[in-house]
Symmetry: C3
Subunit: 346 residues, 3 copies
């Protein structure tokens, strides 16, 4: 029952250099400070380099540079975390779902559903739905009318896709995700709010991952779009008409207001917040809990907020000072004027 | 299959002025910078006025003032966004759900359910539930014991209402919404937390919209209340005993702690946070990502936080300075004292 | 139908002092400012002490000190909120679910399920699942393969547990909770993000409460752990490999990034945000909306951010000043230098 691979097995097809015994048997993976004999580990974060001296791991994935300090079996690469990701797949307890439509699933009319899909118990599939090869829809999934899902995309239990949502190939949608709900559009008339019909859709590219309980609104007129390779964490809010560029990765609890466009290859820290109708160019990194209120036109790392928890009694003083910052500035200006007068007076 | 309406059709019953050809045929709606011949568009946001010179739209909804710069067909109104909302309804792909109880739905005892409701596949309805005329409950909906839902209210797929929740007429509840879960009440006794029973309910008025994956706690003793016309976006947290006044609108990812009361006609920006046990008066606007920690007694626009992302190296300096703001203030005070001494010595 | 208890009934087994009439009949509970004859109330928060003079409650739970100002029936204790929690249980409309497996539930193979459990309509239970005595799984619950749930744990409607999740005894899991979804781990290789298999699990202790729509990731290699007595509010994000110590309580919309360890008996305010890979010691209190970016090694109260909403025109000035705080500091330094020069010049 315990998996067991030689180093030779594990590096097949990977561009790495093997140092040590190719026949060394690996039976598990553990973090470097916890690894035992029989485990493989990896060294990716310099915070953990100190453990290299004491780890009991039978093999370590690390860079050429770090390998200089390690006499044991090693898999040497420029990108230890990527190679670890590849090797870890050998140890994954993959549950291949039965390629069947469970008898409790309810399927609408005029659907195009290949034979090799999985539709689990208590799913509800609407009319005119098109599923690709080997699509898997977990228990309790709800697929609205006219939805299209590409080959090998996997929806975990209880994902919800509203009508007309289009999803590409090899995507992974976690439980509780809601895609295609109405955008938040209301017009005020005489004090009351009147719903603005949300006529757009949601189009999601290939290789997109979406984390648990994330919500993605359908567009108001055009579509909300996630390009290929976008990765979203849990509990993210994507407003209507948002467009997120290819290979952009967004950490949990981030909120993106309507009609904002985020470029390609961006990295967005958790609990960040984006105003609506702004543009973020490619290759922007936003640190966690930043409030982005204006467009960003140059690649780089951007931040706002006050971060770094300090003792509350210090915080309260500084917080109070912040609320009088303008008056502090005025004091300093007055000092400058006075000092200038004194200097001139000689 | 393509919808097709004359301007005369579209403005029937609306208080607007028509300029140009009443027989002009409209087949779709598009944003002003994307509109083609056959499309109607609208101009509501001054950011987009520049497109008026080049739009190919066959008709534009705009104000009298903006109409001065537009020679084509126009629908003239003081409130273009509201008139757009009304006209957009013609282009909505409305799915009228079958007025039936799906055979897979599980219905409890002693329910009062009119014939014209929709209860979709895999719903679970408790005992003593009362549904109004034309109520629609999407697939996988869970309705607890004793729930009451008013006429024409629509629950999208997989909404959950706990026991005893009361919802008014014409409400729209998106997927993943949870209403009536226990409030977060624990009493500490000798280091452990003991649950405080949550004995109140949730009462929601008419014409309330609630966005995907939002959670609304039941009251501890009294009820949590959303008055008529409240609009909540996605992923909002409403604590126990909160009361939200009529026609208040709240953007996504906002958190409102227990027992806080928010007035009528307020507008709350996204990712805001309200402390518990405070009162916000009517007609308050809160900008996004604000932390509201005290009651607000005067209408107006309020804010906190630090917004506006800047390059990280600048941010880090300013952030560090913030944490020493009190000492900066002390330096300035010392300078003032010194300068005063110099002046007096004069 | 109305519950009715004497004070003697209500305090049975509690370490309290009764003042007044033991036969006084209590038929309900209300907040002190709303209580009527026949109601019991409690006084826990000094903000509400002013109502003691006018409350119509038939009995009040309060401290010895507060009792000096109250002539009526009283239950006297050091911890009125805890005693209220105990007494409130008498007034709870407890719905004891039928101890049955609903015929629409789908149950996998090789499960160990005692006779006294509740598995409600449209649940889906995987293979090799072990349930304790009197476990209750609400309608639409999804329990993955190999999950273990301890005695008397209650899952409300539509909770989702991924494969292999382990939950202790007497836990309460609200609707929409997702536990055991994949952590957010991707390795970048030539611009694209490659999924890092998430091989760990989630282990949750006894007496843990988890609020609606909260998401808890499974570990990357080791497990994500919630120790005994942890209380989580709604819409919280717990990243992979996080460990939360016993009796720590966390308010809504908090986000905890991967591999962060939080100690025992901590209290975390709502909408807070924790960076990954940091350690928070025992008995730390974090105020709401704080961004914790570094480890905390001393018990105490910690804060960050700017809290306290102020009129927007003031805020905008101060916010702008913040972004020039470094230059303000430089001005002050220059003033100090100049002043020193003047002094030295005499």
């Amino acid at each position: 029952m315990i998996p067991s691979f030689t180093l030779t097995d594990l590096i097949k097809g990977l561009s790495v250099k093997l140092q040590g015994d190719p026949a060394c048997v690996i039976q598990g993976l553990r973090p470097i400070h916890l690894a035992k004999t029989g485990d493989m580990t990896f060294l990716n974060n310099s915070l953990y380099r100190k453990y290299l001296a004491t780890t009991q791991a039978s093999a370590v994935i690390l860079t050429e540079k770090d390998a200089a300090d390690w006499q044991g079996n090693a898999i040497i690469t420029d990108n230890p975390y990527f190679i670890y990701a590849k090797i870890a797949a050998f140890f994954e307890h993959t549950i291949i779902p039965a390629r069947e439509i469970h008898p409790t699933a309810v399927i609408g009319e005029n659907c195009r559903i290949p034979e090799n899909v999985t539709i689990a118990a208590h799913c509800v599939i609407g009319d005119n739905v098109t599923l690709g090869q080997e699509v898997s829809i977990g228990p309790g999934g709800i697929i609205g009318d006219g939805v299209q899902i590409g080959d090998q995309t996997v929806l975990d239990a209880k994902a919800t896709l509203y009508h007309g949502v289009v999803i590409g190939k090899r995507c992974r949608i976690a439980s509780g995700v809601v895609i295609g709900c109405d955008g938040f559009g209301f017009a005020n008339h005489q004090g009351g709010w009147h719903k603005v019909p949300q006529l757009g859709g949601v189009v999601i590219g290939d290789d997109v991952d979406i984390g648990a309980n994330t919500a993605i609104d359908r567009g108001a007129l055009e579509d909300t779009i996630l390009e290929n390779g976008v990765k979203l964490d849990n509990l993210i809010q994507i407003g209507h008409n948002v467009r997120i560029g290819a290979n952009t990765i967004i950490a949990g609890c981030t909120a993106i207001a309507g009609s904002t466009v985020i470029g390609k290859n961006c990295m967005i820290g958790g609990a960040s917040c984006f105003a609506g109708h702004i543009n973020i160019c490619d290759q922007v990194m936003i640190t966690g809990m930043t409030a982005v209120t204006k467009s960003i036109n140059e690649p780089g790392i951007y931040s706002s907020g006050i971060v770094g928890a300090v003792p509350n009694h210090e915080f309260r003083k500084n917080n109070a000072r912040f609320h009088r910052l303008e008056s502090l500035m005025q004091k300093v200006k007055q000092l400058e004027t006075d000092l200038k007068a004194i200097k001139e007076r000689g």
